[in-house]
């Protein structure tokens, strides 16, 4: 089992205090709030009973928050929102008003609607205006369809040019995955073997008590396969994460808030800033939905995620633009 090796490595570390009898299963709690006021609590556990990881024990308890923004679809000008740029700017204003300011921002894709010239710039420039230290991007299919990801990866692909990424922030391990490249006819979102291999290797070194946050555009779980709201090899990716006590998966793509908990993994899809989509299976198919003008801002929004170290609590607050 994956966890055994991780535990064995930790046990050999001189920094492990060990033996304090803390049952992480008992206190690892992930809480989340939805914009509607719904509150639920999830108790997660790990496969072995152990103390905090050396890294967490050594660092002072530091809190931080980050923002998830998704599906800005810059360039969209359909009936569902004649002013998608305006609602995007409103979301930016909301981020700027957050106190305390988020440490960073994660954009979970469909940055642009049609990959038209200047669309990426609109988003990167606007997000630079926030107080966040950094912005992490992951593409949606609308960001890569026209050129197979050439422009996107050129801008955001990183040194390796692959676009997938991971980083550690104050004891939390963040992973950005790409599941919108190389769509095949009749297929669904997919990560591909190369990326799966990278992911497996990336998390191998982590202790099971490291909180993990994964972001990707298309849901990694089967929200509604009939509409393509699923990642073909998502299960494979999740199998590498099952040993962790706290895994939070943040997705976009479906332009609505949905949540699901499976073991220690909680899944959350986010609102768009551009237009809503129908609930799974409602109507003839996915796509922009036109709602009465006065309701539009109540179905668009963004997400603020707070992490309190030591308490292992991840608070997710979805707020609309209304």
């Amino acid at each position: 089992m994956n966890d055994d090796s991780a535990y064995a490595r930790d046990a050999g570390s001189p920094e492990v205090s060990g033996g304090d009898g803390v049952d992480r299963r008992g206190f690892l709690q992930c809480m989340a709030w939805a914009g509607t006021g719904l509150v639920w609590t999830v108790t997660g556990g790990v496969l072995s009973s152990r103390a905090l990881s050396p890294a967490s024990a050594a660092e002072p308890a530091l809190d931080f928050s980050f923002v998830q923004i998704s599906d800005t679809h810059i360039g969209f000008k359909g009936e569902a929102n004649k002013d998608a740029l305006g609602t995007f700017e409103q979301a930016i204003a909301r981020i700027k008003a957050l106190d305390p300011a988020p440490s960073f921002i994660v954009h979970t894709g469909d940055i642009t609607h049609t990959q038209k010239a200047g669309a990426f710039d609109t988003v990167t420039e606007a997000l630079k205006g926030t107080k966040a230290e950094r912005v992490f991007y992951i593409p949606g299919e609308n960001d890569v369809f026209a050129d197979g990801g050439k422009e996107y990866l050129g801008r955001f692909g990183g040194p390796a040019g692959t676009g997938w990424q991971s980083f550690d922030y104050k004891g939390v391990h963040f992973i950005g995955l790409i599941n919108v490249l190389n769509f095949k006819a009749g297929g669904l979102g997919n990560l591909g073997q190369t990326q799966l291999d990278w992911l497996k290797k990336d998390v191998e070194r982590l202790t099971s008590s490291t909180p993990v946050v994964v972001f990707a555009h298309v849901p990694l779980w089967a929200v509604y396969p009939k509409w393509g709201w699923v990642t073909d090899d998502g299960e494979q990716a999740l199998s590498y994460l099952k040993r962790f006590g706290s895994v939070t998966v943040l997705n976009g793509h479906i332009h609505q808030i949905m949540q699901k908990v499976e073991g220690n993994i909680s899944f959350h899809t986010a609102l768009s800033t551009a237009f809503p989509q129908p609930a799974p299976g409602v109507g003839e198919g996915p796509g922009p939905v036109k709602v009465p003008a006065e309701q539009l801002r109540s179905v668009l929004g963004l997400r603020d995620v707070s992490y309190v170290q030591g308490k292992s609590r991840l608070a997710i607050v979805d707020s609309t633009l209304a």
């Binding site: 359909g78 299919e141 369809f145 297929g187 393509g228 109507g283």
Partner: protein, 138 residues
């Protein structure tokens, strides 16, 4: 570009096309060249701006609610097929062998391709890969 005007113009031009406007093939190519549209390998594919739509008198496949209206279409060789996006969403029409490839089609935008040789041409939308279709050329 004003989207609303373009949409209205597109609808009007489509009506003209349906009424049997003559096929100005030469005009279409000229428009394409003038508009600087990059065609795929063969150069026969055409991401049609509304002005060029009138030139296509062949069969039409409409895209609505993430579906191709005629998922299987059989035509004689030499036929030009036109796809018209009637959806709010952005779509593409791309051959699985990349024999033809449209740009992103917004609402009321169209794409045409002339099928010169017999064969079975499977295609899909690269944004929504569950949207598939084929053109059988005899």
């Amino acid at each position: 570009m004003n989207g609303k005007n373009r949409s209205n113009r597109a609808r009007w031009l489509w009506r003209m096309a349906v009424l049997g406007t003559a096929a100005f093939a030469g005009l279409a190519v000229a428009s394409w060249a003038a508009a600087g549209q990059s065609g795929p390998g063969t150069g026969e594919g055409l991401r049609v701006q509304p002005v060029a739509v009138t030139a296509q008198a062949g069969p039409r496949i409409e895209i609505t609610k993430h579906k191709f209206s005629r998922p299987t279409l059989t035509v004689p060789a030499g036929t030009t097929v036109t796809w018209l996006n009637r959806d709010e969403d952005l779509h593409t029409v791309v051959s699985t062998t990349l024999a033809f490839k449209s740009a992103g089609l917004e609402t009321d935008e169209a794409y045409s391709y002339k099928f010169a040789k017999p064969g079975v041409y499977e295609y899909f939308c690269t944004l929504h890969p569950l949207m598939t279709g084929k053109v059988i050329v005899k």
